[in-house]
Symmetry: C2
């Protein structure tokens, strides 16, 4: 079966492009002696996690414990959860998971460390712990090298936790100095820092410029999207995730309406350099998806010499692959348009 025969809207994944993306990122890591721990938040597919591991990844990264549980159930043996795990219920689930596979976590507070330690110790298991350091993104993360060292010291003293090192997101041009200072402060207290984990697709190829970093995480690279094209991390031809959509209305000569709106493409914006709008129509690059209703994509065709008619199917590269696949229960996987299968996005909707 060819993807052209699929009813729309449908999310398709080009497995050849996925393999190219995996090879490129793994190749960079191998070249620079960096461990690679891909983030599965983008694809949420066990099969792609295993592709990434077979290519050389040391393990995977998840953002939710529920994602980690799905991946562990699929046979993945080494999982880092880079989101603060808070509360007794999740701590208990983490402990149960840590009995089955190698688990590590990242967090930025004593509250989180103590909560996890209690549950892990009760279960008699150990999870690795990375102290999250804010190196400029201003999201989570301790604010100073001293705070990093204090939390590291606490973690080292807590049962059930093994101090592994540091984590930051994303790797930024300025990430080096604070990571270096934090490593120094921790070592000055007689503790080891085995892992310094950086991350993010847009700045992926700069990780080797921050010599403290030993391991990198990235998710979006596996599919690419309109943001990746704009930030030059993945070229258009390697954008593996595309949404096939049908023109369902041509109410005016300038306007076309697609059967893909915010519930199919996501309202997530693209990086500014992408030029606004809600996705790239591959066959009509001069068209502009200027607005989304929930199920309608509103397309301005005024700049197009040729214009699609009602019934024509077009291919959209979404703004943000992670937000897009999260809307799809299944993706159709293909090579050169030939359908391999319709895969359940197994870790989708695992909010907890």
């Amino acid at each position: 079966m060819d993807v052209a025969a699929l009813d729309t809207p449908v999310a398709t994944v080009d497995l050849d492009a996925v393999e190219r993306n995996i090879a490129r990122m793994q190749g960079y890591c191998d070249e620079h002696g960096l461990a690679f721990r891909p983030h599965v938040k983008t694809h949420k597919l066990p099969a792609l996690a295993h592709l990434q591991l077979r290519a050389g990844a040391v393990g995977i990264t998840c953002q939710k414990l529920g994602e980690a549980e799905v991946m562990a159930a699929s046979g993945v043996r080494d999982i880092l959860v880079t989101f603060p795990i808070v509360g007794a219920e999740k701590a208990e689930r983490l402990a149960a998971l840590a009995r089955e596979v190698a688990v590590s976590v990242a967090a930025d507070s004593a509250e989180v460390a103590r909560g996890l330690s209690a549950a892990l110790a009760r279960e008699g298991v150990v999870a690795g712990f990375l102290v999250e350091v804010d190196t400029g993104f201003a999201r989570t993360g301790v604010q100073t090298p001293k705070a990093a060292a204090e939390l590291a010291e606490l973690v080292d003293a807590l049962p059930g936790l093994r101090l592994d090192g540091l984590m930051t997101y994303p790797t930024l041009p300025g990430s080096g100095p604070i990571l270096r200072a934090a490593v120094g402060e921790i070592r000055a207290r007689g503790l080891e820092v085995r892992v310094v984990s950086g991350g993010g697709t847009p700045t992926f190829f700069t990780n080797h410029e921050v010599p403290e970093i030993t391991e990198v995480r990235a998710g979006t690279y596996v599919y690419g999207d309109r943001s990746c094209i704009a930030n030059v991390s993945v070229p258009l031809e390697d954008c593996a995730l595309r949404v096939r959509a049908t023109v369902v209305s041509r109410p005016t000569p300038e306007r076309g309406i697609l059967d893909a709106g915010s519930k199919t493409l996501t309202t997530d914006p693209a990086e500014e350099a992408a030029g606004g709008g809600h996705g790239l129509i591959v066959e009509y690059p001069d068209a502009r998806i200027y607005a989304l209703s929930e199920e309608h994509g509103h397309v301005d065709l005024s700049a197009c010499a040729e214009r699609p008619e009602v019934g024509e199917v077009v291919t959209v590269v979404p703004n943000h692959a992670c937000g897009c696949t999260n809307l799809h229960d299944r993706v159709v996987v293909h090579r050169s348009g030939r359908v391999i299968g319709c895969w359940a996005v197994a870790a989708r909707g695992r909010l907890r």
Copy 2:
């Protein structure tokens, strides 16, 4: 069990508030002699569709054929699909559905009408057809009363289709004149217009000011959201859908991080009058969710006298209820916090 005992993030639905919202909208329709056909795109729950029908709705509205199939399977007997159904595969599914329940569709082109007619006639069944008229929103819809009449005449002549009348979205202050003219043009051709369907929550209570309108559709009203508060269609106390989220990091005195980001709350913006941001934190109304990562809600607490600590659970009214529930496989339904059940969002993810 109380909702306070639920692990987070979790979407909760206050059934008392839902019933108040249903009663208010149905009451308005009854008062003004309007038929009410609620749009299930917001809740996607069979149980709520049946609540709406029991309250007096004449049928339901769906945006996707797959939603209609789920609702029909749950026992709903009268369904309007207000999205152009394009392509042989969907036309065949519509015909199969029309054999089981009363089905009608809305569209704005001869292409769509002819495609549906062929499949319906082959199956020996009939679907109602509403000509969609653009009355100012500039999305789908024929552009002139004459075009409406021409499409109506075609539909009347096509086997398998029954001309029911006109549809527009949303009902706007200026919707009246073009609807009146279209009705006139159609009647001048000797055809009947039994139904003129208007829609939309924000302008719901203005439908009686457009005397052509016989039937109204609305979806968001059933849950309410931050946009509804801003456009004064649903008050805060009747906002039935809320996301319980935990503070997982307090990296600075001014910043809090929630375990609910774009994959839990949606990046859909609220109406402008809501004041920007990504949701209202009920317990901290002076807090501002100023950014969303996929799993992180970034909260500015600088305007708050009291500030939540790590581990505290807060309640968020999302910007856009429809985009939010679409992210959740299940919602926890309660009355006054007492959990009734955890309901599968059965029609979620039915993109086709």
